[in-house]
Amino acid sequence: MSADTLTPASTSAGPRPALVRAEFLKIVSTKMWIGLLVGVLIFVAIQVLATAFAPRTGDAANQLPPLTTDIGLRNLFGGVGQATVFALIIGALGITQEFRHQTITSTFLAAPHRSRVMVAKMLAHVLVGALYGVAAVVGGFAIAFAALAVKDHAPVDYTVVAQIGLGVVLAYALYAVLGVAVGTLVRNQIAALVGLIVWAVFVEALLILLLPKVGKWLPGGAVEGIKQVAGFNQNADYLAPLPASLLLIAWAVVFAAIASVTTLRRDVT
């Protein structure tokens, strides 16, 4: 396990466990990941509670479907996927911090094969993103089941709940990778964070709502497909969970590929 022997230069392109462990240590050796994890939990708690206890007044078309329907239950459990923006942020910080604090220099000095560093960074963020996803699912589902104990509701289909749970963990994991890829492209920390948040919270959400035919192909639309949650958009025609997962992976790969032929080839000055 320990890499204390003088390893000869290897030509294989596979991921380097030591590099992944190094990238993971980078993440957990500062406090940012804890703050963002708390953010995930608060965001998910608010979302699930709001879905469960939203007042039902006014026009039915403007209401969330009630918990007495299957789609209402999907919305309740799917609420745990509403904090993926925090996974984007941890991913984007994972690379833009290196540019901001100029640790990218010592990173590339220690590991000059830049593409291997990026692969390792993305794998480490898959782990952290998945951790956020697990926290969101465990915390959010606990609140959801507590809410169901005091509300009238349709019978719970545990296969659907499990599918939503797994899909959400996958979505958080892939969003963290997407954050790394976009951060590598943009490099400037503030620009990357503002851009990602504005995109995910406003632009993409609006596109998914107003132009669902386009929206379902966006990363956010893929996440909705993975969860199969309708929200306010009850006529949505999202991709099925499996193609939606593949679409999300494809987005991450595309950004990573663009980043690897631009930023990673640049001089580090």
Partner: protein
């Protein structure tokens, strides 16, 4: 005692290195070599191209042409670079919220070096007490020591240090001097950049001086001292003395300073004294010009721009 075995010192060779940033020529056909077992000062004013040269050597910047190798191999081809060459670059930072020990553990993992080296190198640079403090609270001098610890993680045979004396107090500079001398005495190749010669003149064996991206001088430090040897002479019979000295030492150089003194280069004081006696020139002053290496350095580097 060390958790890794030291790799031997190997030479650094820079050959016809050229780097353009857009229309700016940062390094211009630069060639020099750095020998193991010696401390070499890499000197030049700010903006001379030192950092760009070092970044080319360390694989961070792609040369426009020419190459820079360590023991005949490029940085990327060294396989496990941290084991071969340790480096501390000026614009290489720290995450302020990460502690010193974790900073080194991250680098050790990335470089394929035993993580125990983090504690060993912290001890080497005298930072054991601060190992678990976040770097954000470190003084500039402590950051320099931490950079040095990072450079030593792989116990490399070659060290490349960019302005390591910046921010050190006099005590720190004395410590650094002894430390670098010790590393060279172990057979390592030590290349230290600085924009102030006086900062390293008591540390280095050799100097490589560049200005505006071009080589000005690469020689042992002692040659530089000789180069600067001049005499200050005051005499009412300057013309007679110049003629007499020239007769004995045709290569002597003469300049008149602003305050009317005569400066004679490339000649021994005894020759001037003998010539003065023969020419019956009255000597009011005959002394070596202050051997200020910094002025030699300034003269050399400003000469390149004219």
């Amino acid at each position: 005692m060390s958790s890794v075995t030291r790799t031997p010192g190997v030479p650094i060779d820079v050959t016809s290195l050229t780097k353009h940033f857009g229309s700016v020529v940062a390094v211009d056909d630069l060639s020099f070599s750095v020998a193991p077992g010696r401390v070499t000062g890499f000197l030049g004013p700010n903006g001379a191209g030192k950092t760009t040269t070092l970044r080319c050597l360390l694989g961070l910047v792609a040369p426009t042409s020419g190459d820079a190798t360590i023991g005949g191999r490029t940085y990327l081809d060294t396989g496990t670079p941290m084991r071969v060459v340790g480096s501390a670059l000026e614009a290489s930072g720290f995450h302020p919220g990460r502690n010193a020990r974790n900073h080194l553990r991250v680098l050790a993992r990335m470089g394929g070096v035993d993580e125990r080296r983090a504690d060993e190198t912290l001890a080497l640079v005298g930072l054991t007490e601060s190992a678990r403090r976040t770097v954000g609270g470190f003084s500039l001098g402590m950051r320099q020591r931490l950079q040095l610890a990072a450079a030593l993680l792989g116990d490399p045979g070659v060290l490349v240090l960019d302005e390591p004396a910046n921010g050190l107090d006099p005590e720190g500079i004395a410590w650094l001097r002894a430390f670098l001398r010790h590393l060279a005495s172990e057979g390592r190749t030590v290349l230290v950049s600085s924009h102030v010669l006086s900062e390293v003149e008591q540390t280095v064996d050799d100097v490589v001086i560049i200005a505006e991206g071009r080589l000005v001088r690469a020689c042992p430090l002692s040659d530089l001292t000789d180069h600067g040897r001049r005499l200050v002479v005051r005499t009412p019979q300057a013309d007679a003395l110049v003629a007499a000295v020239r007769a004995d030492a045709p290569s002597a150089t003469f300049t008149t300073t602003d305050d009317g003194a005569l400066e004679i280069g490339q000649v021994e004081a005894a020759v001037v004294g003998r010539a003065a006696l023969r020419a019956q020139a009255e000597l009011h002053e005959l002394r070596p010009a202050t051997s200020d290496l910094e002025q030699v350095f300034l003269a050399l580097t400003s000469g390149a721009s004219s």
